[in-house]
Amino acid sequence: MDIVIIGLLLGGTYALMAMGLQLQYGVARIMNLANGEILIAGAFSTFWFYAGTKASPLWALFLVAPASFVLNWAIYRVLIYPLVRRATSQGKLEVDSILATFGISFISVGILLTIFGGEYLDYSYLAQPIFIFGERYGLNRVVAFLAAVVLCGGLYLWLHKTRAGLALRAVSVNPSAAGLVSINVARTSALAFALGGAVTAMGGGLLSMFLTFDVSLGVVFTLKALVIVILGGVGDIRGTIVASFILGFAETAVATLIDPGLTLAAAYILFMLVLLIRPEGLFGRRTA
C-alpha cells in the first residue's frame, strides 16, 4: 500500500516534468538533453525563493515559469532555430540538436555550479505527516502532487480546448501539413519549446519540495523524462501521464524492496522492455 501511494504521489510530479519534454520533443521535434538542467534550475530558484522570503514555494512557481519560458524561447530562437534551418533531413537535425543541447546542458551545469556551488540543497517545507489509509506520508509530497495535478489538468485543457493548443497538436502530428493550413510552424515550435521549458521548471520547483537536489542530477532527470515520453508514446499527453505513474511505481517498488541506489536501473529496465515489445510506446502510433 505504501508503495502504491508513494508511487502515485511521485508519478504525479513526474508527469509535469515529462510533459515539458513531451512538448519540446513531441511538438518542436527537438530532443532537448538540457531539459534536466532546466528542471534543476527551477528547483534551485524555488529553494532560493523559499530561503529568501519564507513564503510558500508554490508562489515561486509564478516567477519560475515565466523566467523559464523566456529563457527557453531565447534558446530556441538563438541556438536551435539555425540548426532547424540548416538541417537537410530529420536525422541530421537530431544529431545536431542532440550535440547542441548537450553543450547547453554542460554550460548550464557550469553556470549553476558557479551560482549555487556543488552542495546538496534541500529545505524543509510542510514536513509534517499526513495520514492516508492509516499510513503517514509527508504533507509536502501530497501538496506537490495536487499542484502537479492542477497544472497538468490546465495544460491538458489548454491543449484540447483552445485554438493555440490545437495548432500545437497539429504541428505535433505533421509539421509540413500544419504549414499548409496556415499554421506558423516556426512560431508554434518556438512556443512549444518555451512552454515545455516553463512546465519542466515548474516540475523542478515542485520536486524540490520533497527531494534533495544537486547540480549533477540534471542528467538523471533528463533520462527519466525521456523514458517516460518514450514509454508513453511520443506526441501523446495521455501516454505521458500513464507512463509517469508507471515509472513512479516502478521506482518506488525498487527503492523500497531492493535498494534505493537502483532507481535509474528500474527506469532502464522499463525502457528496454518498451523498446523490445512496443517501440512506439503505449499510446504511440505505429509508423511504417
Partner: protein, 351 residues
C-alpha cells in the same frame, strides 16, 4: 538477401596505392613507437593519454562515423574493461584478462545493440547516454551486496613506456580493422545506412545486424583500452571508472577531427588533449562549462570537423584552378544542395 551484411574476406585485391598507404601507416606507427625512448616524465604521460584517446576516438568512429549514431557509451565499456581486470587480477594471468575484457564488453554490446539498434537512432543515443550510470549503479549495488569494499586494487607493475606501447598496438589494430571494414561489404552497407536507412533496407541490407556488429566491435575496443590502463590507475572504484566525461571527451575529439576519414579523430585528439590539459590546470572549476562551449563551437563553427575544413579548402582551390578530377560533379552536387537549401528556406519562411 541476408548475406549482404556479412563481412567477407577482402573483396578485391589490394591495389598498389593501398599497399603504399599501408606501408606509410606502418612507418608512422613505428616512428610513434619511438616516443617513449625520447621523452619521459610529463611529456610521456601526455603521450599516453593521446594514444589512449586516439584508440578510443577511432574505435568510436568505426560505429558512429558511417551510421551517424552518436554513441555515448564509451565510458560504460571503458569502465567494464577496468573492472574485468580489477576483479580477476588475482585469479587469471593479465594478458588473458585483457582478452576477457574485450569479450565482456562485446557481450554487453550485443545485448544493448539488439535492444536499441533495431529502432530509431535517437533511442540508441539516449540509452547509451545513461548506460555508464546504469552499470555504475549496478556495480555499486553488487559490491554492496557482496560486502566488498567500494573499490578494487590492481597491483601489477607496469612502466609508463609499456602502457604507451600496448595502447599504440591497440590503436594500430583499431586502424587495421577500420581499414578492413571500410573496404568490406559491411563497410559499404554501413555507409548506405548512414546516407539513408530506408534506401539501405530496400537494397536488402539487414540494417540491424550490420549496426549491431559494428557497435560490438567498437565497444570491445573501448573495453580493451580500459583493461590496458586499469593497472595505471591502481585503484578502481565505480565513480571513477564510469565517469561519463570520458564518453563526452571522446565524442568531442572525434567530431573535432572529423568523422569522414579514419584518421580524422587523430587530428582532433592531439589538440584537444593538450587544450584540456591546459584547461584543467588553469580553470579547474570551469571544466564543465568549457566542455559545453566546445560542444557548441563544434556544432556551429566546424560541423564537418578539421578534416572537413581541410578538404573544403582543398576543393575550393581545386575548383579555382579547374584541374581537380570530378570538379564538375562537385559543382553539380553543390548547386543541387544549395537549390534544396533555398527551397527549404523559402518553405520555412512561408509557413
Amino acid at each position: 538477401m541476408s548475406d549482404v551484411a556479412i563481412p567477407q574476406a577482402v573483396r578485391t585485391r589490394i591495389t598498389a596505392r593501398e599497399w603504399r598507404n599501408l606501408l606509410i601507416s606502418a612507418g608512422l606507427f613505428i616512428v610513434a613507437g619511438l616516443v617513449p625512448l625520447i621523452f619521459g616524465g610529463y611529456a610521456l604521460q601526455l603521450s599516453v593519454s593521446i594514444v589512449m584517446y586516439t584508440a578510443l576516438a577511432t574505435s568510436w568512429l568505426l560505429f558512429s562515423g558511417p551510421t551517424n549514431y552518436i554513441a555515448l557509451s564509451t565510458a560504460a565499456f571503458f569502465g567494464i574493461g577496468m573492472y574485468t581486470v580489477a576483479g580477476g587480477i588475482d585469479l587469471v594471468p593479465y594478458p588473458l584478462l585483457v582478452l576477457a575484457a574485450g569479450l565482456v564488453g562485446a557481450a554487453l554490446a550485443v545485448v544493448v545493440g539488439l535492444a536499441t539498434l533495431r529502432v530509431s537512432g535517437v533511442y540508441f543515443v539516449i540509452f547509451s547516454l545513461g548506460l555508464a550510470e546504469l552499470v555504475r549503479q549496478i556495480m555499486t549495488w553488487l559490491q554492496h551486496v557482496l560486502g566488498t569494499m567500494s573499490g578494487l586494487y590492481v597491483t601489477i607493475d607496469r612502466s609508463e613506456p609499456m602502457y604507451f606501447w600496448q595502447l599504440l598496438l591497440l590503436t594500430a589494430l583499431v586502424f587495421l580493422v577500420g581499414w578492413w571494414i571500410g573496404r568490406s561489404r559491411l563497410g559499404f552497407a554501413l555507409r548506405i545506412i548512414g546516407n539513408d536507412e530506408v534506401v539501405a533496407v530496400h537494397c536488402g541490407i539487414n540494417t540491424a545486424r550490420a549496426k549491431v556488429i559494428l557497435f560490438v566491435i567498437s565497444s570491445a575496443f573501448a573495453s580493451i583500452a580500459g583493461a590496458i590502463v586499469a593497472p595505471r590507475w591502481g585503484y578502481v572504484e565505480p565513480v571513477v571508472a564510469f565517469s561519463p566525461s570520458v564518453s563526452f571527451q571522446v565524442v568531442i575529439m572525434a567530431l573535432l577531427g572529423g568523422t569522414q576519414r579514419l584518421w580524422g579523430p587523430l587530428l582532433g585528439v592531439i589538440p584537444f588533449v593538450l587544450l584540456w590539459e591546459l584547461i584543467s590546470i588553469e580553470f579547474p572549476d570551469q571544466t564543465t562549462l568549457l566542455l559545453g562551449v566546445c560542444f557548441l563551437l563544434i556544432v556551429y563553427v566546424i560541423p564537418n570537423g578539421l578534416t572537413g575544413l581541410i578538404e573544403d579548402i582543398w576543393h575550393r582551390r581545386g575548383k579555382l584552378s579547374g584541374s581537380s578530377p570530378g570538379a564538375l560533379q562537385r559543382v553539380l552536387g553543390a548547386s543541387a544542395g544549395s537549390v534544396r537549401n533555398r527551397l527549404q528556406r523559402r518553405k520555412s519562411h512561408d509557413v
